[in-house]
């Protein structure tokens, strides 16, 4: 039987939740990812599924302040997806937050779609704060935003950026880390998706970036290590960042989230070949069966 794809128009509220409430949201996002990548016939399955739990808490757990009806709201917190290839998880999250219709998820990576293969600022897709996709640049842009907020506008916004772990092989991320600590950016939260997978293999085999936590500590970050699939730990980490921000700790925060690439889909889990591949019809069927 041919696979028929439909996206519900369900949206979720951004509010404080108990940990168990996030599984429903993350499941919806993971199903969106499989469906949109299957329709796109290209794209990155592994890291998007692996970060779905983090996105669920960040956008629907009252962590970030934002208003989907006013994407340019001056008081909003901002999120920059430095690992631009993970955009399917961000697109689903933004649609489920109400930034735009879930109808657009049908056209990921298609000609004329605002859902570009890597986020394009020129598309004016609500919720996208910058073009990203050349690895390492987004996190540095986020540092610039945090500097602008803290040092010039002196407001209370929070700036978040998410990088992959292969991404921190790019030397410029350490320039960004250096500047974030130098300017005591306690309004800046760096989320690191540590699944130990990149296109060519295990990160430790391609080019080891370990130990990670000690590097960020040495640069001057408040480092929080968590299981990136444990909602209680994710919530706590963001709460710690919030308190760092409110108490003006004078340091940026790094949340190092140990995740499993392809989390939730049996045959994709912890297998780096799923870094940059979409599911075919048979695989999408199995994946959607797993994600129930």
């Amino acid at each position: 039987m041919a696979l028929e794809i439909t996206f519900s128009d369900k949206t979720f509220e951004n509010k404080k939740r108990n940990p168990e409430e996030f599984s429903e949201i993350a499941l919806e996002i993971r199903r969106d990812i499989i469906k949109s990548l299957y329709l796109a016939k290209s794209g990155h399955s592994g890291g998007t599924l692996g970060t779905s739990d983090i996105f669920s808490v960040l956008f629907f757990g009252g962590v970030m302040k934002y208003n989907p009806n006013d994407p340019e709201w001056k008081e909003r917190d901002r999120f920059v997806l430095s690992a631009g290839h993970l955009c399917p998880v961000l697109y689903s999250t933004l649609a489920r937050a109400g930034y735009f219709s879930t109808e657009e998820l049908y056209r990921l990576r298609k000609y004329g779609s605002r859902l570009q293969g890597h986020p394009g600022y020129d598309m004016k897709l609500p919720g996208i704060e910058s073009s990203t996709g050349s690895l390492g640049q987004g996190v540095s842009i986020a540092v610039g935003m945090a500097m602008s907020d803290k040092l010039v506008d002196k407001n209370n916004r929070k700036i978040f950026a998410l990088t992959g772990d292969g991404e921190i092989e790019e030397g410029t991320v350490w320039e960004a880390a250096m500047a974030a600590a130098n300017y005591k950016l306690d309004n800046f939260c760096w989320i690191l998706d540590n699944n130990d997978c990149q296109i060519d293999g295990r990160v430790r085999d391609v080019m080891s970036i370990y130990p990670i936590a000690q590097k960020f500590e040495a640069f001057g970050f408040d480092v929080i290590n968590i299981d990136g699939h444990n909602y209680s730990e994710i919530i706590k980490a963001f709460e710690k960042f919030k308190s760092n921000h409110e108490s003006k700790i004078g340091k940026p925060t790094a949340i190092i989230a140990r995740t499993i690439m392809g989390k939730g889909v049996s045959f994709m889990e912890d297998n780096y070949i799923w870094h940059g591949n979409p599911p075919n019809e048979e695989q999408a069927k199995i994946a959607l069966h797993d994600l129930k």
Binding site: Y121, S130, G133, S134, I141, G144, M145, S148, T172, M178
Partner: protein
Amino acid sequence: MSEIKLLGKKPTRHGFGEGLVMLGERYDNVIVLGGDITGSVMTSYFKERFPERFFSIGVAEQNATTIAAGFALSGKIAFFASYSAFSAFRNADQLRISVAYNDINVKIGGGHAGITVGPDGATHQALEEIAFVRTLPNMTLVVPCDYLEAKKATIAIGEKFGPCFIRFGRSAVPMFTTDETPFEIGKANELRDGKDVAIVACGLMVWEALLAAEELSKKGINARVINNSSIKPIDVETLVNAARDCGCIVTAEEHQVHGGLGGAVAEVTAKNYPVPIEFVGVRDKFGCSGEPEELMVKFGLTWKEIYASALKAIERRDKGFRGLRQVKDVEDYKE
């Protein structure tokens, strides 16, 4: 030269530094990032005047460029300046994606550009960045000819929305434009009228072009001299008029002969009104240490090369430039 007079000498970087201060006075949202060499590229003026809007990023041009993008995405007009060798190439990917593709208010200063940075040698003599920067979509690129034009151009790029790049030099160069000399992004400025050959120049080569025109006039050749400081957007109308009126062109720039101003002029004329063009610039070579004047002679960046090229261009025009002469040029080129 009837109206144009030498008014002294001053580096274009001073114009940049003073222009930044004027922008800072006019607009609260102008910020400047430093890349350690603020006293060289004269962002030090802004730093002294507006310390609360100046941020040192250290020797990290890639980071400075993307941080500037972050500021621009937060409503600022963000300037970053370094040596052109580093603020156009070290950060090339950042310029392409975070600045040009985002199409935001990041302004890059490329200082100490060209061969005339002198004793520092080839590593610091940027001779290729006009070619790179002008291919980036959304980008504006200006190469002012003297101190005062550098000041006007700095203010103009600050007031124009979008990504901009300004290229300027280290050494003191002739000042000859005045408050009355027009400057507008997208417009070339005809400094001298003539119908025998058009000399299109930018940067310090504009002065050399004026000197060459003066010498040519002694032979009864009336050269039109065009200051083409706005490389992108380029003034198609002025260039096509020059091609039509003069029938041949010489371009002159402190840059490789490939892909720079000469390339831009060739693109415009080839499409609209093809005429023979001779290119004065550095001929596919790296520079070396030396005093600016010595290097300008060694690398063929004086009025004499422009003069000789003008004669050659006129000859090609008169003989019909599709002949053997062109093949011989290729041989010349190999040196």
